[in-house]
Symmetry: C2
Subunit: 197 residues, 2 copies
C-alpha cells in the first residue's frame, strides 16, 4: 500500500513542489496525457529525481491525490477467480476498504471532490485509470463498452460509500457487509458483463 | 411544487425564526418525532401561524431544507402504472429533475450534506419520509423490508446524481437519459421488489 506514514525520501520542499506540479498536471490534462518529464519540468527538478522519490507515474498520482491506498494492490483479490464472481468480490473488497481505517481518508477525498472541481477531476482520473480501466481490461470487456460499464459501476459504488459513510442512511450505514454484498453484487456484475439495454 | 420564488406570506423575520426552529428540530429529532406545535414553541409563535405560513409539516420541512421541489408532486408519475415498471419510471423522473433547473439546487443540497452533519441529517429525513417511504408504501413492500430496500435504492440514485452532476464521470455525465434509464432501471426494480439475497 501507498502508506501515508513512514520513511519518505528526499527534501520535503522538493517533494511538495513535485506533488503540486503533479496535482495541477493530472487535473488539467488528465492522467494519460501527463508525463513525469513534464511534471519534473514544472517543479524544476530532474525526472530521475521524481522516479527516485515516487517510483513511477501511478505511485506519483496516488501520492498527489493523497490516496489512502493503492487500488492496484487490491485488484488481484477482485480479479482472481471466476468472472461470474467479480461483482461480488469487487463489492466485498470495496466495503472492506471503506470500513477500514483507510475509509476515513477516502471519505475526506470524496467530500473534497464534492466541493472542489480540481479534486473532482483527480477523483475521476483516479476512478478511471487506477480502478475501472484495470478491471474492465482484465474482464476483456469490448473497448466500446468500457466507459459506460465502468461509469455505471462507479455510480453504484460511490453511492454506496455516500450512504454508508457520509449521509449514513440506515440500514445501509450499519448493515453487515455481507448483506450489502448479497444485495449489490448482482448490480455490479450486470454493469460489468450483463445486458444494459 | 414548493416554489422558491413568488408570494410568501408573513413577516420575513418570523418566517426565518420558524424555519430555523424547524431545521434544528427536524435534524435533531427527525421528521416523525417533530411536531408543528414544538417548532412554533421554539420560534415563539402560535402553531396556527406556522400552518398559515407553510401549510403543514411536509411543506414546512421542504421549506426548511430549501428543497427545490416537492417530491410528493412527482410520485403519481412514478407510481401510476404497473408495478413492474416503477423502477424505470423512478429513474426517468429522477433524471428529469436533476437535469432540469431544479437540479442545480439539488446538487447544492447534496454538496452541503457532504460537509455538514446537520444537512446530512435533513437529507436523510428527506429521502426517507418524502420519497422512499411513500414509494415503498405504495408498492406494498413488507414493513420489515422497507428500510433496506429503500436505502439500497438511495445508494444507486444518489450515486447516479453524484457521477452525472458532481464528479461528472463520462459517459454517465452526458449520456442521454434513456441510456441510463435502460441500464439502471432493472437495478432499482430489483431493490424495490426483487430478490436481495
Amino acid at each position: 500500500m501507498a502508506r501515508r506514514t513512514g520513511r519518505r525520501p528526499g527534501n520535503p520542499d522538493t517533494r511538495e513542489a513535485i506533488l503540486d506540479a503533479a496535482r495541477t498536471a493530472f487535473a488539467e490534462r488528465g492522467f494519460d496525457a501527463t508525463s513525469i518529464r513534464s511534471i519534473a519540468g514544472t517543479a524544476g527538478v530532474d525526472p530521475a529525481l521524481v522516479h527516485h522519490y515516487f517510483g513511477g507515474k501511478d505511485r506519483l498520482f496516488l501520492a498527489a491525490m493523497d490516496a489512502p491506498l493503492d487500488p492496484g494492490e487490491l485488484l488481484p483479490r477482485m480479479l482472481g477467480g471466476d468472472a461470474d464472481g467479480v461483482g461480488e468480490r469487487l463489492v466485498r473488497t470495496f466495503l472492506e476498504v471503506w470500513d477500514s481505517p483507510a475509509g476515513a481518508a477516502a471519505v475526506a477525498l470524496l467530500r473534497s471532490g464534492m466541493s472542489n472541481e480540481w479534486t473532482a477531476r483527480l477523483l475521476r482520473e483516479f476512478l478511471v485509470t487506477q480502478v475501472l480501466r484495470r478491471i474492465l481490461d482484465h474482464l476483456g470487456v469490448a473497448p466500446a463498452e468500457r466507459a459506460l460499464r465502468g461509469s455505471l459501476v462507479a455510480t453504484q459504488m460511490i453511492g454506496l460509500a455516500m450512504m454508508r459513510h457520509v449521509i449514513r442512511l440506515e440500514p445501509v450505514a450499519s448493515a453487515p457487509a455481507e448483506t450489502l454484498v448479497a444485495a449489490i453484487a448482482p448490480t455490479v456484475q450486470r454493469y460489468l458483463r450483463g445486458d444494459l439495454s
